[in-house]
């Protein structure tokens, strides 16, 4: 029983980080109808940036989060204008292919800069843990969860209260009407894409302190992030968050009992979801996706 509770606690903590990763994916799909498989590559890129900041420049990985976010926001806006904006017809399907190509390019570039061996971001406190209610909880997971939760909360506030956030939601709900009302959908889309990229990279910096990673970890992450978005309901931010936490708990529980098959925990939930509620937790049945 103690083991189960421990699994749940760790699952919630890591689920928070996955929620941050997938919130960008959900946002970008919601706003631009872009299915950005490269989100996983941006996560790993963020992890490597934090690694470099720590090893080469001796910056604490948590302190490096802010510059990484700024840098990756810029990169996201650039990638959007270069690769996604030209897609007009069939944007949602072509974006799958384009984003996979970007993912491949990132894996190749990361592999030639760093090696393809596993690395790990190891600040001095990486192995320390706090004792909370009898559970040994690693510090990095707690702080990482707190940062993720704060950022996801901030994202919610930004989308619901700020002017740009309202423009983004308007572009999500009805691009044509938003354009008529003066929302520059391309600009708004690129900013949304930049935000999605930045959050992915921040989540990656945290991920790199909890798990070891290499450029090919991207492919494992793609599957997990996509599962989260589908289970949550395509494009729904709240759905993605709930799904991320649920999937974090389930995979950490499976890990406790069956380490070999923990990778399948995510997919098991996905299959059950498809059978009983194909549109996902928060999703609307989308029978007419363009």
């Amino acid at each position: 029983m103690h083991l189960v509770l421990y699994g749940v606690v760790l699952g919630v903590l890591i689920g928070g980080v996955f929620a941050l990763m997938s919130s960008g994916l959900a946002l970008v799909w919601g706003v631009m109808r872009i299915l950005n498989l490269a989100q996983a590559a941006f996560v790993i890129l963020g992890a490597y940036l934090a690694y470099t900041a720590n090893v080469t420049f001796h910056i604490d990985p948590f302190a490096a989060i802010l510059p990484i976010a700024v840098l990756m926001f810029g990169l996201g806006v650039g990638v959007f204008y270069l690769f996604y904006r030209p897609l007009r017809a069939e944007r949602s399907t072509l974006s799958i292919l384009v984003s996979y190509a970007i993912l491949l390019g990132c894996v190749g570039i990361l592999g030639s800069i760093y090696s393809t061996n596993d690395t790990f971001i190891s600040p001095s406190y990486v192995l320390d843990s706090w004792k909370v209610l009898g559970f040994e909880v690693p510090i990095v997971e707690v702080v990482g969860f707190a940062i993720s939760a704060a950022l996801v909360g901030g994202l919610f506030w930004f989308l619901s209260a700020s002017r740009l956030g309202r423009a983004i939601r308007a572009a999500t709900q009805n691009p044509a009407a938003a354009t008529l009302l003066g929302v520059r959908t391309d600009l708004v889309g690129s900013l949304g894409f930049g935000i999605g990229t930045a959050t992915a990279a921040v989540a990656g910096a945290i991920y790199g302190m909890i798990y070891s990673f290499n450029p090919n970890s991207t492919l494992d992450l793609v599957g997990i992030l996509l599962c989260i978005v589908v289970v949550g309901g395509f494009g729904s931010l709240s759905g993605a968050i709930v799904a991320a936490v649920a999937l974090g708990i389930s995979s950490s529980l499976v890990f406790v009992y069956q380490p070999v098959w923990s990778g399948l925990g995510f997919y098991g939930i996905l299959a059950v979801m498809l059978l009983f509620r194909p549109q996902g937790l928060w999703g609307v049945a989308q029978w007419r996706v363009e």
């Binding site: 799909w29 109808r33 299915l35 690769f83 030209p86 017809a89 069939e90 949602s92 399907t93 072509l94 799958i96 292919l97 384009v98 996979y100 190509a101 970007i102 491949l104 390019g105 894996v107 190749g108 570039i109 592999g111 030639s112 393809t116 492919l219 793609v222 599957g223 996509l226 599962c227 978005v229 589908v230 395509f234 070999v260 098959w261 990778g263 399948l264 997919y267 996905l270 299959a271 498809l274 059978l275 194909p278 549109q279 996902g280 989308q286 029978w287 007419r288 996706v289």
Partner: protein, 333 residues
């Protein structure tokens, strides 16, 4: 739908005749090897097109069945030491049937969703298959891989028979693809691509029709995967269930012309040798990935319509002077 025309049949005979003669005209082993991979990707592209082109569903799990076929052949013959060349070839049909049977329940689950959700969920079929092959060590020997059956054939021109078997599979795939287009099934599939709700309203049995195309696509991929395993001699989970292969096949279909008969074949035969050439030149896997990503982006950026539809349009334009179809529509060539 349409009867086989003399022009169409003649075109098929000429193309497949030339493809069959190639390994005799250019017997160098590396050329036949390139040809083998060209045909393999062409066959996969034709199989993908049955779903991705005809119904418009972005089907990203095809390589899951390719790997299924590879492992099915390898596991079947794992205790047979030396085999005649034809024994594993004879197993292709049962493997195809097995894949079609496995495909039906998977298809039933997948077909509950559409659009981008289908794309994502179908991709997870591939990931699940890879996880199973990597972790189910009792059957698949896990990440360490398995040796495929080794045929006892002469070393000279050893890859020519593999080329010809793959060519036969591609011909079978083209035959199925052509038959589906001209039959009622094809009409119903195109109706689903146009507007699934309306098609259903008009009485098209959408689910059974989609499942037929899906099972055919999976069976072809499994047979091709089995020949691939037989040819390369040793299989690993990461290469048998590679997302790179999946997306390469999709890109080839887009390059050739989605939903057309000859487009996927052309796309596969054009891109696969380039891809293999990149792999030879950039021995370093990282540069290969970067080069391949660039190729991918260029193809999508500049040829959204596909080769076969573009040629067809140019031909129509020259014949009639005017009258180009609206951009974004898929001509039914």
């Amino acid at each position: 739908m349409t009867r086989p025309t003399a022009w169409g049949a003649g075109r098929a005979v000429v193309i497949f005749g030339v493809l069959a003669l190639l390994p005799f005209a250019f017997p160098a082993a590396w050329l036949v090897d390139l040809g083998f991979f060209g045909l393999m990707y062409a066959g996969l592209a034709v199989a993908w097109n049955l779903i991705g082109g005809y119904t418009g569903y972005i089907w990203l799990g095809l390589i899951g069945f390719f790997g299924f076929g590879a492992y099915a052949l390898t596991i079947t013959f794992q205790h047979t030491s030396v085999v005649s060349f034809w024994a594993p070839v004879g197993a292709l049909i049962p493997i195809g049937i097995a894949a079609a049977i496995v495909a039906v329940p998977i298809g039933l689950v997948l077909m509950r969703v559409r659009g981008a959700t289908f794309a994502v969920v179908s991709l997870s079929v591939l990931f699940i298959a890879e996880i199973c092959a990597s972790n189910w060590t009792a059957i698949t020997n896990g990440a360490a891989g398995m040796p495929a059956p080794a045929p006892s054939i002469a070393a000279a021109n050893f890859n020519r028979p593999f080329y010809l078997v793959m060519l036969a599979l591609v011909a079978l795939a083209m035959l199925i693809s052509w038959y589906m287009r001209r039959s009622r099934i094809g009409l119903m599939l195109f109706a689903i691509r146009g507007d699934e709700e309306r098609a259903r309203g008009l009485g098209v049995p959408t689910l059974p029709v989609k499942l037929i195309a899906f099972a055919a696509s999976c069976a072809l991929a499994a047979m091709i995967g089995a020949v691939w395993a037989y040819y390369i001699g040793f299989i690993y989970p990461i290469f048998s269930f590679s997302p790179n292969t999946t997306f390469a096949v999709v890109m080839m279909v887009y390059l050739g012309g989605r939903g057309t008969l000859w487009g996927p074949l052309a796309g596969g035969l054009l891109v696969a040798p380039v891809q293999e050439y990149l792999a030879y030149t950039f021995g370093n896997a990282q540069f290969y990935l970067i080069g391949y990503a660039a190729l991918f982006l260029i193809v999508i950026r500049f040829l959204p319509l596909g080769i076969v539809p573009s040629i067809h349009q140019a031909w129509l334009r020259r014949r009639s002077g005017e009258a180009t179809p609206a951009p974004g529509t898929l001509p039914a060539t």
